[in-house]
């Protein structure tokens, strides 16, 4: 088990290194000079080719990709000094560079935005399960009946609505038009600063995210439950004289959860990597929105930091899923 985890961690590190190289190369060889945003900013939008070449030289774009990538990596571990124009930026380890748009250090900006994204992701993900699993179980227990068909159709309908439309409509009605108390005030307040404001500010985004996402959990759970309830060991459980609830939850759901957990791990990773639409619509200053603004501004250090962050999150989530999987199913032994 421990050997397996170490092996997987090493493999994960390799993946992350490869991702970082790919991102670095993509920008290096991309069509727009990475120095252009800085040049535009420094020269008040009058970036001549000569000035651009000057900035490229200063930022090291003429040194060759291998050398610069080396500097980037060593910066992560030991920190480095960076110069733009006449100013020098002190970038302590872990140094991911500075934002070309705001001039802030990437690491600091990211850490600052992380709590919002984590709050949003955990709440939404919890709702995936809290809504999705009970509804899926209820539908599976009534499979083939009118109730089941109604649930399945309703949830299929909801999941067919594009998420950005649903979230936008929710924001429009709950916040702008009706201004519903509690639900109406969305935005992020740090939890420790004001827990109630934190909760109310995130409630509507959570509900949108969780409700829409839970529809697929309903489908997974229902499908897995229908399959499980047809298994021989369910008949055995009934033949023991167990109550229907014990049969369904202790014997049925226990097995049906295994595939659901697998998907949940991946989804949680995706949420933690930033929820673009939700953060954009509800103006929550999280990783997703930060990355999006970075893309708009061609702010390459921001974009590469978010990509790297996503890779780390996904690798970790996959590892956690595998470990949880082996804990859930005793037949799976990690080796």
């Amino acid at each position: 088990m421990l050997a397996y985890i170490i092996k997987r961690l090493l493999a994960g590190v390799v993946v992350i290194i490869l991702v970082s190289m790919a991102i670095f190369a993509l920008f290096w060889y991309g069509p727009s000079s990475p120095a252009r945003p800085i040049c535009l900013q420094e020269t008040s939008q009058r970036c001549t080719p000569e000035r651009l070449a000057q900035y490229e030289e200063q930022m090291g774009y003429n040194n060759g990709i291998v050398k610069e990538y080396g500097k980037y990596v060593s910066g992560i571990f030991t920190g480095r000094e960076m110069e733009i124009g006449s100013t020098t930026i002190e970038c302590d380890a872990p140094c991911l560079g500075f934002s070309h748009r705001s001039r802030g250090l990437i690491w600091d900006e990211m850490i600052q935005r992380l709590p919002a994204t984590i709050s949003l992701a955990l709440g939404g993900a919890a709702l995936y399960l809290i809504i999705g699993i009970p509804v899926g179980v209820a539908a599976a227990r009534r499979r083939g009946t009118l109730g089941d068909k109604t649930l399945v159709t309703t949830f299929l309908f909801i999941s067919s609505v594009p998420y950005y439309l649903l979230a936008l409509l929710a924001w429009l009605y709950f916040t702008l038009i009706w201004d519903v108390p509690i639900l109406g005030s969305s935005g992020y307040t740090p939890l420790l600063e004001n827990p109630w404001a934190w909760f109310t500010g995130l409630l509507l985004p959570w509900l949108c995210l969780g409700f829409w996402g839970s529809t697929q959990y309903t489908r997974y759970t229902r499908g897995a439950m229908v399959e499980t309830l047809g298994e021989d060991y369910i008949r055995t459980a009934k033949a023991k004289g167990l109550t229907p609830n014990k049969v369904v939850y202790r014997h049925g759901l226990r097995s049906a959860l295994v595939p659901v957990v697998t998907i949940f791990g991946i989804d949680l990773g995706l949420l933690l990597a930033g929820t673009l639409f939700t953060e954009r619509i509800f103006e929550i200053q999280g990783i997703g929105l930060w990355g999006l603004r970075g893309v708009y501004a061609l702010d390459l250090p921001v974009v590469s930091a978010t990509a790297l962050f996503t890779a780390i999150i996904m690798v970790s989530c996959n590892l956690v899923v595998d470990i949880v999987y082996s804990a859930l199913d005793p037949r799976v032994r990690l080796s």
Binding site: E231, D232, Y233, R235, T236, A237, K238, A239, K240, G241, L242, T243, H251, R254, S255, L328, D329, P330, R331
Partner: protein, 369 residues
Amino acid sequence: MTASPLSSTSVERSGTTVSDSDPYLVVEDLSVEFPTPDGPLRAVNGVSYSVSLGKTLGIVGESGSGKSVSSMAVLGLHDPQRSKVAGSIRVGGQEIVGLAEPAMRKLRGNTVSMIFQDALAALHPFYRVGVQLAEAYMVHHPDASKRDARRRAIEMLDRVGIPQPDSRVDDYPHQFSGGMRQRAMIAMGLINDPSLLIADEPTTALDVTVQAQILDLLQDLQREFNSAIVIITHDLGVIAEMADDVLVMYAGRAVEYGTTKQLLTRPAMPYTWGLLSSVPDVQADTDARLIPIPGNPPSLLDPPTGCSFNPRCAHRDKVPGDLCRTTLPELLPVVPGAAHLKRCHLADPEAVYLGEVLPEIAPDLVEEA
């Protein structure tokens, strides 16, 4: 099973039990129907049988003959919304058709328990064997502590012959061998000392030596606990080994019912003959071909008119007036007053069996018979 059911040693056990004075399980005119989009499907149609404490009834038939469905009805395992059970099932004098679910649950796994075929699928893969056994005990002993239940589980595992039961109790089913899993299944079925045990093909997924061990175990346990056993099988070898009485089912109906001795030495229905002919004989030439029953079991949604077996029956032309194709025979005594019942129009099945069937399937026994 490899032993020929016709060898004289295998039928020694059978006594005379059909219609004993005080049977523990009495099934009368049981029908089970499932609604399907193509109309109602009658999986069991007017089946009656009885078993006394300490006795064993074997139910034989092909897949889809209704043998498992009728036994599941005894445990009330059919979802009332998806099936219709009619007739009467009395367990220890208590009527259980139409019994409310909570009362039914008190019986299930307690006075009536069931062991299933393919224990790998029938045991929950995620729970330890001991936990599953203890659970079965605790449902019916709500005052028992977890420790009591565990002790009881270890005791039962020991009783069914699992080595080192106090450590194997913490194994998962997949860590057991096939035979051990079936033993654990039996231990679970017997953990509450049931008076009636239904064994649904308990040896199907096992190899021959393990089969024999499991059957021996069941017989030992029956002697010890004096329970009534219903054993469902398509293996006449198992019947010869275990059963006092035999019920042969075909397309949801009882087609022959009698003591094991009657049924194996004087079978009175062409379907039973077919079952006997398709048993391999270890003493026969290895090149000898098995004699299968031609054709397939009929669709229960669209059963043939007349006798359900008539499309596959080689003897239907011996009955005058095309009766087999037009009229369903009743389940009647082979000779007036006999306990041995058959559902067949043949006037003198014994003569046909001894004259035509036996010489073909076991020529060496013709003289004896």
